[in-house]
């Protein structure tokens, strides 16, 4: 594979930093936009990008904090952006759109593009899939998709379930049974709403796992859930991004 930092055109034509990994020696490949979590465009997220390339997809992660904190270390950038109230949903959608366009334009691209995000990026993945024409979406434990923020935490984010009728592609949801944000009740509500709307989706909730069970460098890591989750991701992409 080839991997490295590039510049792409994001929301409102802004030039932003992004991390691209793509397979070499492959005639045709689908694309995945990887949305980083709230702690930023960090080493763990770049590792995820490379994992998709190792499995035969071109993957691209836009640095959502590129505008406010260019060149800063990921944790400093995340703290800096956070102190300013975070990033707006419309900016996220514009940046994912820019990343998807870049992936579709790569030599060898099939034109099919999916999106995946973890934690806050899980909510962002659903938002992008309801706002853009995509081919597959993966939501890894994104909170505040169904429920508003809990009492006492007046978050600057809104629930997204009202956008579900616009969901443009099949959705894979991977959640932890011990997670409170999103809780199993919340993800069950989303699943029921997608059933009602006839939107194809596949949800898995892992016992013994909580929030962030994919994070290999965190105490929340749950190997059994993560290994099975990765297998589910690549099976899902094999169905929806192949060809």
């Amino acid at each position: 594979m080839e991997a490295g930092t590039i510049t792409i055109t994001g929301h409102e034509g802004d030039e932003i930093e992004a991390y691209l990994a793509r397979p070499t020696g492959r005639a045709a490949f689908g694309g995945m936009v990887v949305i980083h979590h709230l702690p930023g465009y960090d080493a763990g997220t770049k590792e995820i990008v490379r994992r998709f390339a190792a499995e035969g997809y071109a993957a691209l992660c836009p640095n959502l904090y590129s505008r406010q904190a260019p060149g800063a270390s990921p944790d400093d950038a995340a703290a800096f952006v956070r102190a300013q109230g975070g990033i707006r949903d419309e900016q996220l959608v514009g940046d994912v759109d820019g990343a998807a366009r870049h992936l579709r334009g790569l030599p060898g691209a099939t034109g099919k593009v999916g999106v995946i995000g973890y934690c806050s990026g899980g909510r962002h993945s659903f938002l992008a899939a309801c706002s853009l024409q995509l081919d597959a979406a993966v939501d890894c434990y994104g909170a505040c998709v169904v429920n508003p923020p809990p009492a006492g935490f007046p978050l600057a984010v809104e629930p997204l379930i009202g956008l579900a009728p616009q969901l443009s592609c099949p959705l894979l949801g991977l959640f932890g049974a011990d997670d409170k944000f999103p809780s199993p009740e919340e993800t069950a509500t989303l699943s029921a709403e997608l059933d009602r709307l006839g939107k194809p989706h596949e949800f898995h909730t892992y016992d013994g796992a909580g929030h962030a069970f994919f994070s290999v460098d965190r105490p929340a890591y749950r190997p059994e859930a993560a290994v099975d989750g990765w297998a589910k991701i690549f099976a899902f992409l094999g169905t929806h991004l192949a060809g």
């Binding site: 703290a79 102190a83 934690c119 962030a212």
Partner: protein, 90 residues
């Protein structure tokens, strides 16, 4: 969970970061995922000078118990000192 809620106060003082000492203008406190501490969530406190850029930051990540203990320690240290001795108006 990820919360954007950040308690922010203007502060006057100094902190020592990766590039040495710098004058502070703000401090923030929030409960969220840590970058380094081995817990799911921590109380995160940043000492900042935003006009110097994102890297002008001294960060700590504490457990809830230890953050409360630190608040108590600061309160006791101030109570043991003559009032106003460390004031902006000293």
């Amino acid at each position: 969970m990820c919360t954007y809620i950040t308690e922010k106060v203007a502060v006057e003082g100094s902190a020592k970061g990766a590039d040495g000492w710098f004058a502070l203008t703000h401090a923030t406190a929030y409960v969220d995922h840590p970058v380094h501490a081995p817990f799911g969530h921590t109380v995160n406190i940043d000492f900042l000078a935003p006009e110097r850029g994102p890297s002008a930051r001294v960060a700590v990540e504490l457990t809830e118990e230890d953050a409360r203990a630190l608040v108590g320690a600061i309160t006791r240290a101030l109570a043991a000192a003559p009032p106003g001795i460390a004031s902006r108006e000293q």
